[in-house]
Symmetry: C2
Amino acid sequence: MSTPNTVRLLLVGLGNLGRRFCDLLVQKGPEVEARYGLRLVLVGAADSRGWAYDPAGLDPARVAALKEAGGSVADIPGVGRPARPAAELIAQAEADLLCEASPVNLRQGAEPGLTHIRMALDRGMHVATPNKGPLVLAYRELHDRAARRGVQLRFDGTVAGGLPALYIGQRDLRGATVHRIEAVPNLCTGYVLELLAEGLSWEEAQARARAEGVLEADPSFDLDGWDAAAKLVILVNGVMGYPARLEEVERTGITGLGGAEVVAARQEGRVYKLLATADRLPDEAVSMRVAPVPLPGDHFLARLGRKQMGVIYHTDIYGTIMAAIDEPTPLPSAATMLRDILDIYTNAHV
Amino acid sequence: MSTPNTVRLLLVGLGNLGRRFCDLLVQKGPEVEARYGLRLVLVGAADSRGWAYDPAGLDPARVAALKEAGGSVADIPGVGRPARPAAELIAQAEADLLCEASPVNLRQGAEPGLTHIRMALDRGMHVATPNKGPLVLAYRELHDRAARRGVQLRFDGTVAGGLPALYIGQRDLRGATVHRIEAVPNLCTGYVLELLAEGLSWEEAQARARAEGVLEADPSFDLDGWDAAAKLVILVNGVMGYPARLEEVERTGITGLGGAEVVAARQEGRVYKLLATADRLPDEAVSMRVAPVPLPGDHFLARLGRKQMGVIYHTDIYGTIMAAIDEPTPLPSAATMLRDILDIYTNAHV
């Protein structure tokens, strides 16, 4: 392969996914350069305490180590800028692509992620993001912005962790009408329901999930079904081509479910999952629902394990396509940004 | 959308898949033009009794009806050429893309499909084919030919019917190392094993499978594991990047299996499947095996139904990705040619 193509990356958000993405840059950098002719250079990074920018490249190993130790990139001597917002970095940096991995925040207008993505697209950067919020709130607007600037917007990690649910639905089902989508896109509720089915109390199940890092400090986003509903909205926009909005999803979380109900269902061979479904209606509309459902034991999604997510596409010409991922750690979710970058810059069919 | 882009198609092979592809052109033509701006025009078609060519376009509905009635495209007045080989059509026609759907023939050097594909690529046509033979025997050569002419070679339908196993493995796993592939890529053996597990004799199971159209007149290609081995070779070439050859696959069919063994396994909660596996070895080689295996009942591939196929990719950074298809008729397999065509000509991310 000839001279590698350099891709200058900005990474905003250095939590669970951003930090692991830095690890991936270290681990996979040489291979990506050798196999795909791409040199990925992290020129800028931002966390909640500031940012750092170096056109010659920040060391991703150092960034990951700093975060691991509780520090901030803003502390890196010479290039760090403490107490300055990530938006400033995006506005000023010379870069080719933004990885937007700031925390999901549906309650406050998906900010600051939405602003970050708008700015990057308007400045002619590609965007790869596992951040659901901006896509849920502004799916069409962001796509139009990207198209106007001739850049790519990718968000494969927004739907079901590392499972390429969107890529399968958007590319591999081309030509088909998708009548129905069924998905279990949320890891946390599956884990809690599994513990309840084993006879643990709600308190025990939540404590275990929290100890495992599966449950956030404020668990209502997952347990009340907001996360699953947001993912369903993105799937329906991307795969069914219907401009779905979050308000249209009929949503029931799992918190109303009694542990005894879950145990009883299991004894009858049924398995409770927080199921997200979308059905195409005769008038081109789509009805969407998120609710705990006692699936029959032989249902594809009933068989998902504790750390698994899955999706089913019911199509007219490709039969029924089912896909699932076993994701014991958040690494696959972080790796979706690498998948998105490689998808933008490389051709798999050579 | 502006003026549609016309794609002139040749279709060689009008059996099960070719005929259904004609149906798809009828059913999906207007939608493909409206959604993707592509006008698919069937300018030439060939079966075992001759060919027909019309630069203005053959009527795919008429071709399908002719075949349904036991006729040949060579009989179409004015444009039909009886008793002439398909290669002649490919050599002379003005076309953009060849759909090669002639019968799989591994025993005779994958001919005539291999010659057809070589000719089409050399003449600057793209190729979409569900025909395993040529890919198994000449994977690298055909890719090199396509690259030299700057055309696309697509063969998503060669591996697991309508399941986009190759597209997932080649595109969505970019950046990953695939350590291990497990697949149940053959429909027929799964069906027969399921009947055996229910207590039918080998004779009864084969008769039922034949009546259902699942078993070919000469069933040894499926039952002896050749089909699964051929599909594994294509998967390993495409997804693991290892130049696998058919001779390297350690192959055991299901015919040596006693019905009683299958029943006994089921009673213990295990499920026999003809499993194809590939494991990356430390020295960059890959070991490949096809054999009936009594899978534990909770194994993803043990749960496949009678008309289902599936694949599992064990990766370093995307976790474990599992995909399956329920394919009650050969329509999804025929539709892979449409998927391939749309993949060549359209951009899903706009």
